[in-house]
Point group: C2
Chain length 472, copies 2
């Protein structure tokens, strides 16, 4: 490919698309605390997951090989939009007046509009292979539901999406997109599940939450033959599939003649941040100083600050206490974040894998207020054209802060961030921002404390964190 | 670039992006009938357009050189998303069971979501160069308004968009997108113009029309110093800027080792069809047989069939009779099409340039019913992932028909169509389709006859069509 000095886009041919995902697990210099069974609180056995996931996915959750070949049928779908472009944000840099070099990996070119299809397509493929007939899942902002609906259409699977009621009502276009792909979309809490009916009995107007929707999708799965469950973030196999983002970005940064000094991604359950950051971090994780790796900054909303204000503890993955109990940064499984316009960043917990990295100081985390996010995103749209998803806008706000920091310290860092999706379905949020109807929100510590009171009582295993010798 | 036998995407590096637009005018084997002044009905002089357009644009309207270099500042913006990808629709082909090879040029990767920025960016640049401070325009579906709003943000121009009232109410997200880019968006008919106030006096609930919105934008322009008018289709300079679509596609089809047998584009005012088709048609237009050129098929909706059922006559470009009078296929400037969900294809007339080609049999035209368009688009989304704009869906429906025709004639044509944009802002239309609320619509001939009764009385000039010797 012809690269010129002032290139804006760095494109990879599909012939140069990575053909294997990167698995960070063998590169971790410590063992992860094991997930626990939600009833027995004993370490989960693979067979405990068999009701939820097909065998191939269960295997990937604890993969030991350093990489996993991407199946040809998955590559064939990826090629519809992958490799995604890497762009140098020259016009945004000029508007900021920064000497930092800002690159962004743009995942919004996928037909579903975000990075989510990277794992949705893989999961649909493996489920089809293992004989699954229908996938059940939940969706908050709708990006994950759109991605899985599309993937199911591609591989001939039925798809049931439990969509958080508030989103279902506020984002009819997201719902309609899933329906075009042929999915069955249900507002959660719903009368389709025992858990949903119980909530509706006491809270008939419940706006729902991601935790509730997860519980309903899990219940749907275990009560329907031929149905498996699919999760769009948090778990190891999801982050595995998302590493294609960072693997491509590595090649593209090389085309630009750069190594990023800082990698930035927004962080809800962790799939986007993990996808861009892990390939850059992984190989150096085992060296003590970790000196050759870039800084990696996970950006979360101030309204749902699991990494920056949560507890590092065992907690349920869902609200109903049916999902595995995992060691992670959590705000408590009963935590319901205030209404902020970044629906994809409202999970009470965080990927256990990323949580463990953060606990050891191997990645950084910051929280961003939504007004700063929308201000940064508006400047980005007016200079680069692309309307960022509110989730991605949080990463952009941090990039703006880093550019300011670079000015003060007279440094000229190379910054890479993941623009995880576009905001075409989030314009009501932009409209609210422009009309001055959005406000910042500082979460009271009492709200967090209250939810953390409900953490399950777990006799912590002695493997894992404590065995690393890292002092925190 | 590495091309493999089964490639899906054909990507051009930005270093190989065309650096000049193609001008078809010198290649026409006849003279175009001149546009007329709306009051005197005499051939328009360049100075008559000076109130509406800056000098550089006026010059491009009657450009005599075979091409025009694209300014560096315009190239710099194009590079944010151009060259756009060309894709082989392998999964769509498989679903159709066709042996036709179907390629699509995807213009929806632009930040505004359609091909419209190709001319919006050029027009904003030339206006800035010539000292314009504000651009006024109209928008129906919102694609054009979004594109011009973005282009004005890039070049530091103010932007006033008169948005057809029906769209303004039905597509709040389109409106919000323009506002993020900083545009001033007004529902048309509005109380901002004399023409708008007159309409509101008799029809306070008027849903508006593209012709009315054009009239308001034109009135805004001539009554405000520093303001010029910008049109998103129909005119020669717009089609000139859009030829970058076809020029790129020519290179990409060569990468695929193909020459298209058939080129297909949806057609409202003509900018998308002209953009993809003219570079393929142009060089052979002067040869009598035109044998080396592909078939070029313009696809319009049955509800607004200017090319297939309109008169080839002089008519006003707008509803109020303030815009130039041009020779084109028209349904009459007072024609208001029934509500169909392809807002970009509801103009009463058609590009005079394309009209002249159609009159001489140098391009073909077909009309498509909206149910066929949405059925084709749904199949496309479920196989290729991309949700097509309703406008583009009309082109896809024609491709489906061509594939069927190929089966019957046992031919294996190579078909290239322009996927002019995505349908992220049109999901209410898809929802209506899925719910069975859309219907086909056969326009009564009496409706057309009535509107054609209002054509201006013009003593036709003897230059142009009559001088070509072509019998029609």
């Amino acid at each position: 490919m012809a690269i010129e000095k002032d290139s804006v886009k760095y494109l990879l041919d599909e012939a140069n698309m990575p053909t294997a995902w990167y698995n960070v697990l063998p590169d971790l210099p410590y063992e992860l605390d094991p997930p626990l069974h939600p009833v027995t609180m004993q370490p989960l056995r693979p067979e405990d997951l068999a009701g939820l996931f097909p065998p191939s996915i269960v295997e990937q959750e604890a993969l030991t090989s350093p990489s996993l070949d991407i199946p040809g049928a998955v590559l064939d779908v990826y090629r519809l939009w992958r490799p995604t472009p890497l762009l140098r944000a020259r016009r945004f840099e000029a508007a900021l007046g920064t000497k930092a070099r800002i690159y962004y990996k743009y995942e919004g070119v996928s037909p579903a509009g975000s990075h989510k299809p990277n794992t949705a397509v893989a999961q649909a493929y493996y489920n089809k292979l293992d004989g699954t007939e229908r996938l059940a899942t939940e969706t908050g902002a709708g990006q994950w539901g759109s991605a899985l609906s599309m993937a199911c259409a591609f591989f001939g699977l039925e798809c049931s999406v439990y969509m958080v009621r508030a989103s279902y009502d506020q984002k009819p276009y997201r719902r309609a997109l899933m329906q075009v792909f042929g999915a069955d979309v249900v507002a959660s809490p719903s009368d389709k599940t025992q858990f949903g009916r119980e909530i509706l009995k006491t809270h008939p107007d419940s706006p729902g939450s991601l935790g509730i929707a997860i519980s309903e999708a899990v219940e749907h799965t275990v009560t329907h033959a031929g149905t498996k469950y699919s999760l769009g973030s948090v778990l190891n196999h999801v982050l595995l599939h998302q590493t294609i983002i960072g693997l491509e970005a590595q090649q593209q940064m090389e085309m630009a003649g750069e190594q990023p000094d800082i990698v930035v991604g927004c962080c809800g359950g962790g799939s986007n941040f993990g996808g861009i950051a892990l390939p850059f971090l992984g190989p150096s994780l085992k060296t003590a100083a970790n000196a050759s790796a870039p800084r990696a900054i996970a950006v979360e909303p101030s309204a749902c600050p699991s990494l920056t204000r949560g507890a590092y503890a065992y907690d349920y993955g869902d609200s109903a206490g049916q999902a595995p109990v995992v060691k992670m940064y959590t705000l408590g499984h009963s935590f319901i974040p205030p209404a902020v316009h970044a629906g994809g960043l409202r999970y009470h917990g965080m990927s256990p894998l990323l949580s463990s990295l953060h606990r050891r100081g191997l990645i950084e985390a910051v929280a961003v207020q939504q007004l700063d996010a929308f201000e940064a995103a508006t400047l980005f749209a007016r200079t680069e054209g692309i309307l960022p998803a509110p989730e991605s806008a949080h990463a952009i706000a941090e990039v703006v802060r880093l550019a300011e920091e670079a000015r003060e310290t007279r440094t000229e860092p190379s910054i890479l961030f993941c623009l995880s999706g576009h905001g075409h379905f989030d314009l009501s949020a932009y409209e609210a921002y422009q009309a001055g109807r959005l406000a910042n929100y500082e979460l009271p510590q009492t709200d967090i404390d209250l939810a953390l009171d409900g953490l399950p009582k777990v006799a912590e295993p002695t493997t894992g964190y404590d065995s690393t010798g890292v002092t925190v």
